[in-house]
Subunit: 260 residues, 2 copies
């Protein structure tokens, strides 16, 4: 892989030069959600991901104490190449450091999970508008009435993101995103928000309210906030994640993620 | 799910009425490889499967001490609904019992992995010949020069099965099997056996030698013997599997496995 762009970007994060959200950075390279937790929970969490692949697509796992994602970014260091981290203890946010060099220990397992940035870029490439990007807002997200398949200490509802899509482009948007099963895949629902437990699209649970224009249909994709909710509900003694929007940039090209 | 056929078949296994291989039984229902191992190895094995999905597609996992596959066969008992088991200690075959009621303990985790029976039926349904079934032989299998991605104590080469396919049907066979990513998916290689380290197709590592007719191309699929080899190499203190050909019949319909 010729990956200077991803490596350069991570280097600028590591040296403190880049301290902002990662959206739009190192274009063409897959960005990932980060979850780091004690090894005693690693089987349960991997199984939760296996059972709920659409919200929790596993791109790579660093085994206990390993700091370089062996397949997605073998030269990287997960401890200082994310611009902002969150450290939770017993479900409570403790701090948001810009590195975890002093927090990472041998007993921690790191998971990289796919993120919708990958397919949003491909939607744009194919002429499908992505409203929240147009408006420079955060994507609207909702807690649904669909329960994830539980695994060990992890359980919770599926959270979805919503993008309003012109009616005649819904099939195309579904086909494009279906290619990226490591980035949430095809929509889990189209239209009729009430069927998945959303009473009012303007009342978002996370992100910003949507702007839906005439002739557009709300299309719902599984969302990476799902595993975050399951983790917070489990109130583990320690979890480290990326801060929302401050992702880890992998060496995996977006187009390769389709076959990852 | 309306699954009387699968349930009836498992009941006939449980009461000792059915003691033979399962090929062709409960047609339309997905059969699975069974791997049962101590929970201390469960994370490593699940990660090995996650990293090597084509040879090791996970259909379901029973958490420690659980005897009913929660999603693939919630009413089943994994301890006596496989016609023949194999018990290995430290990599050595100890016995081949017809139930494991006295061997199964609370600390054991059960994995169900997809099997090529699923896609072979679909190939036949689409008019693509499956030679070893025609000839009532076992499928030819080979150890390749491709290493699996290791995980913890598990590592080893990818093992493939081979089916000779008429040249003009290779694309169709690839497209059909690609639908079943939980049953090994698309071929990993077509033609040129030497490129994957197979010097002589007549010298099989497992199964029976092939009969390749004029105009046919050897097509190679990832094979469920891959995780078995990785497990044997790891010489775990205890592993229980199905005996080759004596599979676990799930409640999952073959056509549903495409979306599993």
């Amino acid at each position: 892989m010729n990956t200077p762009l991803a490596r350069q970007f991570r280097a600028s994060v590591a040296c403190g030069e880049w301290q902002k959200p990662t959206s739009g950075q190192a274009p063409g390279f897959t960005q990932a959600n980060v979850v780091i937790l004690p090894e005693k929970y690693a089987f349960d969490f991997l199984l939760f991901c296996q059972r709920n692949e659409q919200p929790c697509p596993v791109i790579d796992v660093c085994e206990s104490g390993v700091t370089a994602p062996p397949f997605a970014a073998p030269g990287a260091d997960i401890r200082n190449e994310v611009p902002r981290y969150r450290i939770y203890r017993h479900g409570e946010l403790e701090c948001e450091p810009d590195n975890i060099l002093n927090h990472f220990t041998n007993g921690l397992v790191t998971f990289l999970l796919g993120c919708s940035f990958t397919f949003e870029q491909d939607l744009l490439n194919h002429g499908i508008p992505v409203r929240h990007i147009e408006l420079e807002r955060n994507v609207p997200m909702y807690i649904t009435n669909r329960e994830c398949r539980p695994a060990g200490v992890f359980s919770g509802p599926m959270v979805v993101s919503m993008r309003p899509i012109p009616e005649n482009l819904v099939d195309k948007a579904a086909a494009i995103t279906a290619r990226y099963r490591k980035a949430h895949g095809a929509p889990i629902h189209v239209g009729t928000p009430e069927q998945i437990g959303i009473a009012d699209l303007q009342k978002v649970d996370f992100g910003d309210p949507p702007e839906i224009r005439p002739g557009e249909v709300p299309v719902f994709w599984a969302c990476g906030v799902t595993p975050q909710m399951a983790i917070q509900r489990a109130k583990l003694d320690l979890v480290i994640t990326h801060a929302p929007g401050y992702m880890f940039v992998t060496d995996v090209r977006d187009e390769d993620l389709a076959l990852w």
